[in-house]
Symmetry: C2
Subunit: 305 residues, 2 copies
């Protein structure tokens, strides 16, 4: 018999991974409305944006304002993505609960996306940790290893290399680490194997799985990961998102479909599904012409849930 | 660690469950082309239609012709759905490899769909078995228990009732039985529990899982079922299908997405994925204006498969 944890956390990444991948620049007021409504629907972890130069990602130029709004909501853990020390300094200044430094296990993807080798990103982690400690800051640091199951540019990514980089990030001072299937190359069997190994390596410092639905397997991959004992998953409302280096990508796991799967399977998420579906509809209305995803919204909730 | 079987069979049901749910009446020649191309792509089990009165399902009025064509392909196991003894008589006459008698575990759905109670369908199974044996026919008989995880009309369907009906069908002479989540109420945990119990009850006479993607969980449900040891799954190319009593339903598991998941996870299906994706595109072109599903086609296969 399978064994599932009694509860799990869905970390909303639509405001970061979702909005950075689409053309529409969502006004700050609507982003704040999204954050508030997600909070009201029971979400307690939200990645609100990214501290990157505004010329690179104008969609996320207001991250500090959205973060400040999120920090007014009691108990909400607001995180930001930081590509480097400079971004980390802003996250520390703003008092983010958590900052996530992405690292691509694929050498080719790392150079294309961050213009650094994976090991240069590990060095950046060391500098970020020193900066955080020197500032006496409480901001947690997560190292997020992406393209962990393969890469559109490089093809294969070896699990041993992924595990080496997880260990290197922890050694360099990350409080915790996570794994991302940035381009939809994971399958439930590879997830099960790699997550088991990551847990053996990092214990409860291995904190999150991030799956894209590029090839339809996001929820099956979450289910496989859940069976290894991991209890935090990134997801994006209406499945918005993608990757500039994964053409045709179908976005992140849809928050509402994931929340439905977990709750139907008896894994509590704290999320109110009708409220979440209503918010999905509002967000979709804010993004006319953008590709949205997910399946549950079409049929709605079953009578028996 | 999870354990998966080395191989599994995808039974194509697009020509039956798919085509019966849409408006387009696909010409017989195109259905035969579909069967041939699916066979060429490695599919070896295809449900080609249903022996129901043509006035009820004009889309499937040519089932005998499609079956006759399928029987010319060496090694292809062609099955048909039969709603009653009358349909079974035609399946026997035509020498189908397998006939599937559907039974709804939901009393309400059974009356709406078949105008019989579940136990009246069990009685029909007894008559079908007697007829098959009297005819000296080799046609196998499968009892397919639908709405096995809940029902839009009745809400809850008790697992004990589902298991009782599986046993009753076997007692009445079914060679084998299967379970269907007709309306998308299953989740991976409920699938795991019910499939374990069905296997304990019926052993290898429990032969197949049929999942709809109404709420996005079809592949996760297959993955859960696969872990119990079941190795046959129904699916429909481009995910076409639905249920007249499940408004907004998003169709069956998409054959191409399911084949990708299985093969990526190391479970051999014998299916050639590029050929299957090419066939999907042809079938979609044959069905202009119809809702099609599936995710893989958008991004295509990863480089590393």
């Amino acid at each position: 018999m399978i064994s599932l944890p009694p509860q799990a956390v869905i970390r909303e990444v639509g405001l970061r991974d979702g909005l950075q991948s689409i053309q529409t620049v969502l006004p700050t007021a609507l982003k704040c409305e999204w954050v508030s409504a997600a909070f009201a629907a029971g979400q307690r972890e939200i990645e609100v944006g990214s501290f990157v130069p505004a010329r690179l990602l104008p969609q996320l130029a207001d991250t500090a304002e959205v973060l400040a709004h999120a920090q007014t909501l009691p108990g909400l853990k607001a995180s930001v993505l930081v590509p480097n020390l400079k971004g980390a300094e802003r996250a520390i200044e703003c008092g983010a609960h958590l900052m996530i430094l992405p690292l691509s296990a694929s050498h080719a993807h790392s150079l294309a996306n961050l213009r650094k080798t994976p090991d240069e990103v590990v060095d950046e982690m060391r500098r970020i940790r020193a900066e955080r400690d020197a500032a006496g800051s409480q901001t947690l640091i997560e190292g997020g290893v992406g393209t962990a199951f393969g890469c559109t540019l490089q093809g294969e990514v070896k699990p041993t290399e992924v595990l080496r980089l997880l260990a290197a990030l922890l050694d360099a001072g990350a409080d915790r680490v996570s794994l991302a299937d940035t381009v939809g190359y994971a399958d439930p069997a590879s997830v099960s194997r790699l997550f088991e190994q990551a847990l053996r390596l990092a214990g409860d410092r291995f904190c999150c799985g991030h799956f894209h639905d590029t090839r339809g397997l996001a929820l099956a991959n979450v289910f496989a990961a859940l069976q290894t004992g991991v209890t935090r998953f990134d997801a994006s409302l209406a499945g918005i998102g993608g990757c500039p280096h994964a053409p045709g990508a179908s976005g992140n796991a849809a928050t509402e479909d994931l929340a439905f799967m977990l709750q139907a399977a008896g894994v509590a998420t704290g999320v109110d599904l009708p409220q979440l579906l209503a918010l999905r509809q509002r967000v979709v209305n804010w993004l006319p012409g953008e590709q949205t995803h997910g399946v549950l919204w079409r049929a709605g909730l079953p009578q028996n849930l």
